[in-house]
Symmetry: C2
Amino acid sequence: MNTRVAGLRPGGRSARVQAAVHLAVHDLTEQHGRAALTVPLIAARAGVTPSTIYRRWGDLADLLADVAVEHMRPETDPADTGGFASDLFTWAEQYFEEMTSEVGLGMLRDVLSATPGVTPRTCQCSAFNAAQIAVMVDRGIARGEAVPEVDAVMDGVVAPIVYRALFAAVPPTRDDVRRFVDRVMASATTR
Amino acid sequence: MNTRVAGLRPGGRSARVQAAVHLAVHDLTEQHGRAALTVPLIAARAGVTPSTIYRRWGDLADLLADVAVEHMRPETDPADTGGFASDLFTWAEQYFEEMTSEVGLGMLRDVLSATPGVTPRTCQCSAFNAAQIAVMVDRGIARGEAVPEVDAVMDGVVAPIVYRALFAAVPPTRDDVRRFVDRVMASATTR
């Protein structure tokens, strides 16, 4: 449904509007910070009318959530480092760095605050992670390695990174990530 | 700093105003739903002026976050069921039921959306949980039982419940909670 700013499908006016608006949000956030964003400001920068934005996205919160989800969409498969445990640690470390950065935290909040309840959008963030983990698990199985279940990695690695990023007084550290990965590797089995 | 609606300290006008406003939020949410809340509506119900609310809380999001944190504050120690593993499962099951309910999800979102970044308020939610878990762990140690670290319970039980409640397409189930508890019990040691 959404077009990525970086991977715009050529053609359709709708796709071009979407890309221009996403890009405007991105640029304005970088220049003025997220708190300064308004629909009229974004519209002016994207060269569309505010009503175009309201028609397509409803309100600013919804637009910001849409941009955040697109930003979270992985652009490539996780790096192949030659072994499952190091693939997972490398991926988890990168995910942790992103989610504990100001930008990453802002995205998590944008996605959560747009609409009440669990939405297709919040689920999409979770599905992106599950898909990345599944790629690593499949690669591990193909190598004949012992691997954990995708759900076990979601619960044991992704969940504590996000929970600590959102709620903990002290943000998670690289050592925490290492411990999460080690703990989930203890449940790995050959399939 | 905050006064609980249910446990109002007698005396101080400030405490009475806080209790009245919290109670108004609670009653109006129940009657009209959260989306209908406005500062003037809450002020009228609480018998204070809107400017009293703005002066003390800044804005509606901040007030709702304050109410949510107070609601999350545990009223009693976790039930003593005679053994650590069943104490933890009983507590986790109750926490899971609360956090996956519409009210619980609304509270999580209220706390997260009030102010950007990790705040004393988001940390307080996490500290409430850690304190409840510490009570169970200490009780287990006193009984001579093998117990996990408090942090391991936060990462292995609380985090996946909250992450799934906020992001997963399918909410966590009682069986998931059981599995989270079993997994963390595997790391228990006698101290």
